[in-house]
Assembly symmetry: C2
Homo-oligomer: 263 residues x 2
DNA sequence: TAGTGGTCTAGACCACGCT
DNA sequence: GCGTGGTCTAGACCACTAG
């Protein structure tokens, strides 16, 4: 036992140190279950429990943290609703991973107009190191000129090239990422990132536009120049809302569509 | 008092009648809080509590339904997470409405590239009754040829026409919807639907593509023909997952983008 | 001060997966 | 049978709003 338990703040005697800085009327106030959530989050982020692994049971966490099971439960409820953790009745709670059918299409919203979504055939065109362009550096919260890894690829469905994509990744984090590793790797790219580079994508934000295919993209997608394409600019974030990927995809939408559900 | 309370099924003596049809191992099983949720949902759908109104407190509902407050609480938690209801600490729980700043942009994901999102200037081009085209009828779950109301409009931001949109609504539900009422009405269109036609939009599903502007659309948007546009096809649903609106928007994305967050 | 939602607890029991 | 998550209860207390 390493210590660091029971530094929790009781209601009415709020945490002294870091965090929150609520802009409300009363000084600060963090419910116990939020503090527990933060502690569990730390264990996830630090890799104490790795993707796919079973985390301690609710009762164990409860008396590790000296709180009731209900409080741990509420903390885990939130983590589950954020897809950081997956509950399985009768078995336990597991750290979420990108190596599962369930998570495969969470970050790919391009669906075939007819038929079930299926996996893309992935063709890597280019992998190289370069200095971050100003715009990319800004989005990755790096200094302009810092080293980034650049990837360009084409994805095909049923033999039809459909997505041309360019990615920029922080060189520091993804050091050692080569075209070989990308080509050899079977499964989702975020699975590779998670397993090989210890970086798990938590959420992403996309900006979508309609653009015209330029000459080079048109030839890659096997369409006429100026064909309308969906431009999808994505920034992905890992723990602590740290941006770790910038991506720009051009989607051919004659037989596919970007699916979005509003609720 | 109209009866119809306490027809709840205890754990282990599951509901006999309708619903669920779970494809699991055990016959059926609906947690109590789900049953409570369904009852509250009925009151919402029937208009017993109208949009914007205060619903009974948790304690009152608890002993109206003969369950603990915690059970009612969990039912309302789900309704709140589905945006059907809004909780306000110290005040109570209110039926959600489209007449509020919060809900304004829930169904409009087109954001300006720079600056805060602001309201569109709305210009109605056309309102008429017609017989539902086959495709629209299918999406609205109607018979082909049934009466629908067709609307065409252009929306502008800062004086720049940006969205050309066509809508189809079931004639039965939206009987009496005229161009005058649409023009006179200030506020979001879904607010009008909710107040004047008793139909509240709960969720929507959008399919997004890139297309070329045809001649007529180009002239409405003040751009060259073949300018790439975002095509957004939406089907909106009210209570019971009943489709009640089909919409096809063409978005000009040179100064705006469709914003989507993946998590 | 009273009423409402929000948190926390402790304990009982149920559904599920495994051994 | 046992351990896990899932449900339900009853009661205490806190935070917020309003009269």
């Amino acid at each position: 036992m390493s210590s660091a338990t029971s530094n929790l703040s009781v209601n009415g005697a709020p945490t002294s140190g870091a965090g929150t800085s609520v802009s409300g009327t009363s000084p600060t106030f963090s419910p116990l279950y939020q503090q527990i959530k933060a502690l569990i989050l730390q264990s996830l982020q630090s890799g104490e429990w790795k993707p796919g692994e079973l985390i301690p049971s609710e009762v164990e966490l409860a008396h590790r943290f000296k709180v009731s099971q209900g409080t741990v439960r509420k903390a885990i409820d939130e983590l589950a609703s954020e897809n950081l953790v997956v509950r399985r009745q009768g078995k336990g709670t597991f750290v979420a991973t990108h190596h599962e059918a369930r998570a495969q299409f969470r970050f790919l919203r391009l669906m075939p107009d007819a038929g079930e979504p299926h996996n893309a055939d992935n063709k890597i065109l280019e992998v190289k190191r370069l200095r971050a362009p100003a715009e990319v550096a800004r989005q990755l919260d790096m200094k302009s000129g810092d080293s980034v890894i650049f990837i360009k690829r084409v994805q095909s469905f049923d033999g039809a090239p459909t997505i041309v994509e360019e990615l920029w990744l922080p060189g520091m984090i993804f050091k050692g990422l080569t075209v070989e590793r990308l080509v050899e790797y079977k499964g989702p790219m975020y699975g590779l990132f998670e397993s090989e580079f210890g970086t798990r994508m938590i959420r992403a934000s996309e900006r979508i536009r309609a653009v015209s295919a330029d000459e080079s993209t048109a030839s890659l997608l096997n369409v006429a120049q100026n064909t309308p394409l969906l431009s999808v600019e994505r920034v992905s974030y890992t723990y602590g809302d740290k941006p770790v990927e910038v991506r720009r995809g051009l989607y051919l939408t004659d037989r596919h569509h970007y699916q979005n559900d509003l609720s």
